[in-house]
């Protein structure tokens, strides 16, 4: 068994936490995991991504191009930026919530989230798009968009572990103060998808 997940987003969106939760769930299900995260200076409003490799064997933490089974995109442009990692037939879940870049250095192309979303729709059959930030906001905080997307991933049934396993990890890892909001976000996203 081998299952590769890529999470893409912008610094501050909780990519690292989402990746940790998935990795822990995979371990609970008895697999080896290795993850690679963007940590450090690039986090400050920059593009960030996390690679999570789940399998029977230990592998290097970077997913090879064209091998990801699942791409969770917390923002449209960052989803497209990482699309080459996705294998043919891989699943994409994208948060339609826009985050314009903080500055526009000379020569940087314009931010066109709608164009990017239609590109995604055209290239990924079975694309799931939803404003997870809004959904999380309704659950209590827009910050839980990352956890909401995990709920959506669980809802698709593609993950190599059960949604209960993931929920257990969530319960154990998220501080009590935020637990209720996060599980609401998780569950309502899961329902919306399945």
């Amino acid at each position: 068994m081998k299952f590769d997940i890529l999470i893409a987003g912008v610094g501050g969106q909780g990519v690292v936490l989402a990746s940790r939760l998935l990795a822990l769930a995979a371990m609970k299900a008895g697999f080896h995991v290795s993850t690679a995260e963007t940590i450090g200076m690039s986090q400050r409003e920059g593009s960030v991504s996390s690679h999570i490799r789940i399998g029977d064997e230990v592998s290097g933490s970077l997913i090879p191009v064209g091998q990801a089974d699942l791409l969770l995109g917390l923002e449209p442009a960052e989803t497209v930026r990482n699309l080459a990692f996705l294998k043919k037939g891989g699943q994409v879940i994208v948060n339609t919530h826009e985050i314009p870049p903080a500055s526009k250095p000379p020569g940087s192309p314009a931010y066109d989230p709608e164009g990017l979303l239609s590109f995604l729709k055209a290239s990924c059959p079975g694309l799931l798009c939803l404003d997870f930030t809004k959904l999380a906001g309704e659950a209590g905080t827009p910050k839980a968009a990352n956890v909401a997307m995990l709920g959506a991933a669980a809802g698709t049934g593609v993950l190599p572990f059960s949604k209960e396993t993931l929920q257990k990890v969530l319960e154990a890892e998220i501080p009590e103060k935020y637990r209720a909001v996060n599980s609401t976000a998780f569950e309502s996203a899961m329902e919306r998808i399945s």
Binding site: V10, G11, G12, R20, A23, L24, M27, H32, V33, S34, T35, A36, E37, T38, I39, G40, M41, S42, Q43, R44, E45, G46, S47, V58, S59, G60, S61, L62, P64, V65, G66, Q67, A77, V80, R81, L83, A84, F85, L86, K87, K88, G90, P100, P101, A102, S103, K104, P105, P106, G107, S108, P109, A110, Y111, D112, G115, L116, F119, S123, C124
Partner: protein, 665 residues
């Protein structure tokens, strides 16, 4: 069965050190090494481990050396460029050796992701005659840390544990020993059972001692190479006729690249890279005619294997970086290793080809994407200071230009040709400019558009001295050196002393945000808090600068832009070394109770705030410059949730449309 833990490589290293009985741990923060010492610190109080963030890597190493001379087990952590700072003590230490154990964690950064060099610590180990271990996963990092302590103790030599970003910052499932398995709250204190320092001439380096020790050091290389050949961290798999030699994470990439085609290859993975395990390599090379070497950074293994082939007159063809089969720089990946191996297969006439993955879309087919460069946080004090100096410099330029215009006009009457006129204008701009020397920290991001306030950046502490050098060769320009608080203590002070001693006409701008921000907010000597969180004496930067003999020293709380501009200007006017210490808070660790709002009635949509500051909390619809990139006047600017209410944009808004609000957070 013990339960596995999900650990980052750096955490696994810390737990490996704890399992090995580490008693003293020191370091200086540096990405991607920082979390190793941070983790030891979490266990330190209960575990009875002495830990400190030292003022720089040289100091950290020397402190650990003192402990190891006394028979203690010591760990010191740093990033690869930190090893350059620590290289002075390290090079001598090779000859002297240690008594307890000394393990040096050095994290390399192929890419590089967050470093100024792509240097290879395996090569450094070779240069310094020190053993180097090179793990590929957090599990291996944990085990090799323990091995490093054993080897260091047994051979009385410091051992380098070298990682790369993907190992230090990657996470994985790790099976731990009993002690390391314990949580920070339950761990038993380590026995403080070393014998203490014994006076002996072996601890005092002298030319004669070095001459005596050098043969020992060279002999040790042979001994270690033999020992390494017997260790289980160097493994051979497969029986194919094409050999692959690899270490670190590259070995895993190679393993994955040949999956399904293992029968063609024999893979030799090396975990103990220096001294090169010759015997094991010779065994592996039996029957191999074609050898592929897969490694990031330097062609270290490739050169070692060349030496061996030459020495033993082996008939082996080597395919690696040196003959262009693999890239000489940058980070590797499975895809890249696949391409390299495929090229080799073609060269040796092997009919089979490795399967390449087929992505949904190729990178080249992606639509244009906005650049999302890292930026200073919303409300970062550095932005205010950079902008203040920008304004101050502009004022100087104006004044100078007025003065020069008069001069030029007089000169113009005398000059005739257009060429001469042009030459004169070119000189004018450079003479009236201010040159801004930057340094290493979050504030290096001041180089980004639209601030563009970092003209030079080289290494920790270099900004001040480079400004001094520039002032000699560009005497008409103003020279400002930005330096962060932690960097000031790290290596800024000798440069300040030099500026005073040699009378450099420079302005030092200390960006004192009371933390080592970029690496994740570690304390430093200016804060009055130790690594463990206990209070200590806070060293006042302004006093240090004053006591170095700087006559113009001003301290400014970064609250209003106008005050910062004023301070910048007076300091720049001062003849000789001057300094302004800008004090503020890092918004990365302080919660703000303010927020700014734009009054849509007053905002004319000029976009001035957005275009001048590059604050990530300020946006024009469609990004800076409006939709389509070009000026679309009339679109109102917006302030996003991440605004921390610093008020900088309010101060520069030409229509006074921005107001500050108190918020309950």
């Amino acid at each position: 069965m013990t339960e596995k833990k999900l650990l980052m490589g750096n955490e696994a290293i810390a737990l490996g050190a704890i399992e090995a009985g580490v008693q003293v741990a020191t370091g200086y923060p540096g990405t991607p090494s920082t979390e190793a010492l941070e983790t030891v610190i979490r266990y330190a109080e209960r575990g009875g481990i002495y830990t400190e963030w030292s003022s720089n890597e040289k100091v950290a190493l020397e402190t650990a050396v003192g402990a190891a001379y006394s028979g203690a087990k010591a760990l010191v952590t740093m990033k690869q460029v930190g090893l350059n700072v620590a290289s002075d003590p390290l090079m001598s230490l090779s000859y002297i050796g240690v008594k307890g154990a000394l393990v040096i964690l050095v994290a390399d950064d192929p890419g590089p992701h967050s470093s100024q060099t792509e240097q290879d610590t395996r090569a450094f180990g070779h240069f310094a005659n020190l053993p180097v271990l090179d793990p590929a996963t957090p599990q291996e990092a944990y085990e090799l840390t323990k091995l490093a302590f054993e080897l260091s103790h047994e051979y009385e030599i410091p051992v380098i544990l070298r990682t790369t970003t993907r190992v230090s910052h990657g996470s994985g499932d790790v099976e731990l020993g009993t002690k390391a398995e314990m949580e920070a709250g339950q761990i038993e204190p380590v026995a403080w059972d070393f014998e203490g320092f014994t006076k002996d001439r072996r601890w005092t380096i002298f030319p004669r001692l070095t001459a005596e020790r050098h043969p020992w050091l060279e002999g040790l290389q042979v001994q270690l190479s033999e020992r390494f050949s017997t260790l289980p961290y160097n493994t051979v798999s497969g029986k194919g006729k094409i050999g692959i030699l690899a270490s670190g994470v590259s070995a895993l990439y190679a393993k994955e690249a040949i999956r399904g085609f293992e029968e063609i290859f024999t893979l030799f993975r090396i975990g103990t890279v220096h001294p090169f395990p010759e015997k094991a390599a010779l065994d592996f090379l039996k029957g191999i005619e074609n050898l592929i070497v897969v490694e990031e950074l330097d062609p270290y293994l490739e050169e070692e294997v060349f030496k061996l082939i030459g020495k033993k007159h082996l008939a082996v063809d080597v395919y690696g970086k040196k003959n262009g089969y693999f890239p000489v720089s940058g980070e590797y990946s499975v895809g890249l290793v696949l391409d390299g191996i495929d090229k080799v297969l073609e060269a040796v006439g092997e009919p089979s080809r490795l399967p390449h993955a087929s992505p949904v879309v190729l990178r080249e087919e992606l639509p244009p994407l906005p650049i999302r460069a890292p930026t200073l946080c919303a409300g970062c004090m550095h932005r205010t200071v950079f902008y203040a100096f920008k304004r101050a410099a502009k004022q100087f330029r104006k004044e100078a230009q007025v003065g020069q215009k008069e001069q030029t006009e007089q000169a113009m009457q005398a000059t005739q040709t257009a060429q001469e006129e042009q030459a004169m204008q070119a000189v004018q701009t450079s003479q009236t400019d201010t040159i801004f020397s930057g340094d290493i920290g979050c504030y290096t991001l001041g180089n980004a558009h639209p601030l563009n306030m970092v003209d030079t950046c080289l290494c920790m502490g270099a900004g001040v001295s480079i400004a001094g050098g520039l002032s000699r060769t560009n005497p008409e320009a103003k020279h400002v050196a930005f330096i962060g608080d932690s960097t000031f203590f790290h290596s800024g002070i000798p440069a300040v002393v030099n500026a005073v001693y040699n009378e450099a006409d420079i302005t030092l701008a200390v960006l004192d945000n009371r933390t080592t921000a970029m690496t994740g907010h570690q304390p430093h000597p200016g804060i009055g808090v130790t690594a463990l969180g206990s209070s200590s004496k806070a060293i006042d930067i302004a006093n240090v600068v004053r006591s170095c003999g700087v006559e113009f020293v001003k301290t400014v709380e970064v609250e209003s832009l106008a005050e910062c501009v004023e301070a910048a200007k007076t300091a720049m006017e001062f003849k000789g070394p001057s300094a302004v210490v800008f004090k503020g808070k890092c918004v990365g660790i302080t919660k703000s109770d303010k927020h700014c709002v734009i009054d849509p009635e007053l905002c004319t949509g000029c976009g001035f705030c957005v275009k001048q500051l590059g604050c990530p909390a300020l946006a024009l619809p469609g990004g800076e410059g409006g939709e389509g990139g070009e000026e679309e006047e009339g679109e109102k600017a917006r302030i996003l949730d991440n605004c921390s209410g610093c008020g900088l944009c309010a101060e520069i808004c030409p229509s006074e449309a921005i107001k500050t609000e108190e918020v309950l957070k």
